[in-house]
Amino acid sequence: MLSRVVDSLYWMSRYLERAEHHARLLDVNLHGLVDQNPEFAQKRRQRLLKTFDPELTDSDDLIMDILLNRNHPNSILSCIASARENARHVREQISSEMWEQVNRLYLYVNKAKPADIAVNPNHYLTQVKKGSQLFQGITDSTMSHAEGWQFIHVGRYMERASCIIRLLEVFLEDVEIGEDEEVALDQYSDWVGLLKSCTAFEAYCRSYQSYISSPRIVSFLVLDQTFPHSIRFSADLVKASLLDISEITQTRKVGNVNRLSGRISATLDYALIDDIRSDPAKFLMDIQRQYALLHESIYTTYISYPVETGL
């Protein structure tokens, strides 16, 4: 496949995943802010902003800043516009159904009016989440699961892992992981909000069938092997897709990509919750750094390699 095409597919997928994640964060937190005491609510609000953009300290209007800000590359509108732009450049390589879906989603968000959203933000955010999920479903059922699809897959799960890491980094800077016991009542809303930000509340309850415990929650989001919004699950899928890609392309010098993605998986396979608890920032930063290396390596192997290595 042409490297340019792969580049567009990868980013199309990353941007949509990012838009969905931001929509969920905003939805869960706007909701949660309502029933918390003002002090906690303020902290939560600041965490939300910081997760979205570390430079952002305060905001008068969360919806305008995170949802509709055309000037911020990470706003939901910008992410969807970028996803669509990337899709447009490879329209011939994706199915018409995929193009129509991403285009429809863009048109929907693009014509949204701040005043209408303010009345019922949940409705809009749900449409964004559903729009992205529908796109994934359409992608999986209308496009050959060949090289291009594998790169879409890689993009989606690399982005998902990055988003969860970022979310946890900001959260754990503020809230400590406690003992394996029911969290204090005043922290209950924060921890449940964290789970919900990753669509993980129900899955967590089913998995543990017990109380809300902070180490278990972190363990679930980082290390669970079967839950699709855990870091480990995402890492395993990225590893598998990259292995498939290296078989399809038969590229020489692919060793580094597969080694790096394998190492992330292995780190998570053998990590203990106590490693994370002793220094969560260090643990998360290490994983994030490994992902950055992997991204770079995918580029130098498949997309923007120097002439000499491509011959």
Partner: protein, 478 residues
Amino acid sequence: MHTIFKDYGLSTGYDEMFDANGKPRPHYEHVHSRLNELPSGELFKRQEAADQSFLTQGVTFTVYHDDSSTERIFPYDLVPRIIPANEWSHIEKGLQQRITALNLFIHDVYHDAKILNDKVVPRDLIYSCKSYRREMRGLNVPNQIYISITGSDIVRDGDGTYRVLEDNLRVPSGVSYMLSNRQVIKRVFPLLFQNYDVRPVEPYSQSLLAVLRHLAPKGVEDPNIVLLTPGVFNSAYFEHTFLARQMGIELVENKDLLVHNSVVYMRTTSGLQRVDVIYRRIDDDFIDPLVFRSDSILGVPGLFNAYRSGNVGLANALGTGIADDKAIYAYVPAIIKYYLGEDPILPNVDTWLLDDEKNRNHVLANLDKLVVKAVGESGGYGMLIGPASTKKEQEAFRALIQQNPRNYIAQPTLALSTSPCFIDGGIAPRHIDLRPYVLYGDKITITPGGLTRVALREGSLVVNSSQGGGSKDTWVLD
């Protein structure tokens, strides 16, 4: 006359369907009676079905405003244009002759320049031509074929004579409409289509592929052929994707290509792959910023070097614009005579060159009756249609001509032939032209048919899609 044709006003020019007495010509009789038989409203339904079919196939072009964009279909007329076998064979022979001579001419201009030394074509005219590429001097192109793909514009004058209006030898477009128009009409008028022995246009894509294969560098058995597009924002992008898909070749942008040691490669996830032939849909000017326009962001640096080294074939070759310059056009009959010793089978439209003072004075005195064209323009731009122009426009052209006479030619205003078209619920005559597609590989083949373009505005003579034109299917009979 029957209902649907009741308002069909015959013009003074040649009408494709009706003879001077208002009787349908024999090859149109079926179409005529079929249109008359259709219950009222039926044509509307079929037009809608056709439009919908173009939309779902994505046969559209994009109109941009600010950061939003809308997709439109190229207006399509249901009534087919029919060319009987004898007329077609005349066109075919004429184009064979013309393309053969023009190809010889381009080769000669860039090699021994005999035709200039013999003073058949003035040397000045060549060297002052914007499309002359000095870099092509002495360069040998594969099989000495410069114009692999041509889309000549042919019109019929008042007495029905076919004349060549323009030779599009650079990057002719529109062939995807020829192919999709046929698909659609078969679905919309299946019975009518069966009633006629229409020659197929479908083999075009495979013939094109063969022509491109023919340009592969020596010794390359199974060439890697790509189509180079300027990108999604180009108005012909649909056509680029369409042709690439039909031929099963990769559609590339300049970002995909790089030149290393005078070899062109495309960047893929499996490493660099050598490119042997490029069907380029980018003008000469923009194709290599190192050699031609340095501000081009669409080109591939080093491409010309690879081409000169014989490591890559290009369709069309560079520098072919020299032969479709509108001033050179006036010399095409002489060019045919010079290389082939024959009289042209398809005549030109009379043309006055304006650097001749006598011509110029005549034209300046008759600006309200003539058509004036800038020599290097295409797409209906840079044109004055005398009878349809205002005094102010005429004065503007007068000044332009006096400033730079070499840059303009004048022609009589032709009464282009008219063809019945479905307009506002009835059938009305509209002016048309014809663009057949000529492929030059191991031999010259002309796809039987072509793109018939229609000036949809009543009385208008401008058929270009950028100026409110549409198209219809062209049936060449067996």
